[in-house]
């Protein structure tokens, strides 16, 4: 399949590279040319420099024929807006947005947008680790 990834930070770059390893075609957008360096010199996809909100940039990246779209910039609101643009304007079948704020992630999740919230994941994992420790303590006592 063909995927457009927006935002080439740790998350975006790793997702893009693993998709390529799985044999998919991937184009990556970031407004900062240095960030695209994370992908390495041998990255086979097209790299585009520009603001993600600009439709000309999205279209040059091939959003109109994308099977999947990943919004992973460092701005929650940017991710939520471009994910909705990908879904509603370009009818991309699979759209995923990275949203750090748990309450916005939940609200837009309820509105039908697929939001991945690393903060929520961290909270849940810490809670379960601490609960497991508390249970172990209680059993030992």
């Amino acid at each position: 399949m063909f995927v457009v990834v927006v935002g080439c930070g740790r998350v975006g770059a790793s997702v893009a590279r693993s998709l390529v390893e799985d044999g998919h075609d991937v184009n990556v957008i970031d407004q900062n040319v240095e960030a695209l360096g994370r992908l390495g010199d041998d990255f086979p996809g097209n790299l585009l420099v520009g603001p993600a909100l600009e439709t000309t940039v999205l279209e040059r990246a091939g959003i109109e024929r994308a099977d999947a779209f990943v919004a992973a910039t460092n701005g929650d609101n940017t991710n939520i807006v471009i994910a909705q643009v990908a879904r509603d304007r370009y009818q991309v079948p699979c759209v995923i947005a990275r949203v750090l704020d748990p309450s916005r992630a939940r609200f837009y999740g309820e509105q039908g947008l697929t939001c991945i919230c690393p903060t929520r994941t961290a909270i849940d994992m810490m809670q379960s680790a601490l609960r497991a420790f508390a249970t172990q303590r209680a059993e030992e006592a």
Partner: protein, 224 residues
């Protein structure tokens, strides 16, 4: 009326002042600490510190009982999110949003955030009005109401040239409201005889521009 203003720059602060003068209740949300301090010294408890795209900040500002939400931050993605949250999460009936970069207008339209105000587009419309480059100028759009106010220059050899306004077959869904001649505007009258260089101002539903252009500017002129 209760208005929640998100974004305490010049636009937000002046809207707050104007609404207060009219006797309305106002909250103004700002997240830059130094700007907030300035606002607080003027607006006291009505100034609220926080990121206006965070749900708990909007909740604390009383968005749920707001009659109108005014999203005037310097970031278009933030203004879109504020518009969506106020409407879809808090049920606010009226939202006004600022468009900072006119290229983002299409995103506001796509996601149903209306009405919008864009300073750049307003300036461009004024320039077009003062120094017309095309024979058709968009003066004002009532997007939600689906009406445009446009200005068209009368071109030599067009059907309008030398005709009585009342004799022209103005398409349904549009109305000529004014004729401008030598910088003097008059409310349109059917007996007015049009001349080259006159500018007519019309209010129209979308889709009537090309028909109006044919009447006033002739068949050859392309739309801008």
């Amino acid at each position: 009326m209760y208005a929640v203003i998100v974004g305490g720059g010049k636009a937000g602060a002046n809207v707050a002042r104007a609404l207060l003068r009219l006797g309305h209740e106002v909250s103004i949300v700002e997240h830059r600490p130094s700007r907030f301090a300035t606002l607080e010294s003027e607006f006291e408890h009505m100034a609220r510190y926080g990121d206006g795209t965070e749900l708990f900040v909007l909740e604390a500002a009383g968005m749920a009982r707001a009659d109108v939400c005014i999203a005037v931050t310097g970031d278009d993605e933030d203004n879109i999110i504020i518009g969506q949250l106020s409407r879809d999460r808090f049920g606010v009936q009226n939202t006004v949003a600022r468009v900072n970069d006119p290229r983002n207008q299409e995103h506001f339209d796509l996601l149903g955030i209306a009405p919008t105000v864009c300073a750049t587009n307003s300036i461009l419309a004024l320039i077009e009005h003062e120094v017309p480059q095309h024979s058709l100028v968009h003066l004002f759009s009532l997007r939600r109401e689906n009406l445009d106010i446009i200005e068209i220059g009368v071109v030599q050899g067009s059907r309008a040239d030398g005709s009585r306004l009342g004799d022209l077959d103005i398409p349904k869904g549009s109305l000529v409201i004014s004729v401008l001649r030598n910088r003097v505007g008059r409310v349109a009258h059917p007996d007015a005889v049009l001349d080259v260089g006159d500018q007519i101002v019309a209010i129209a539903e979308p889709g009537h521009e090309s028909d109006l252009m044919k009447i006033f500017a002739g068949d050859e002129v392309a739309l801008p």
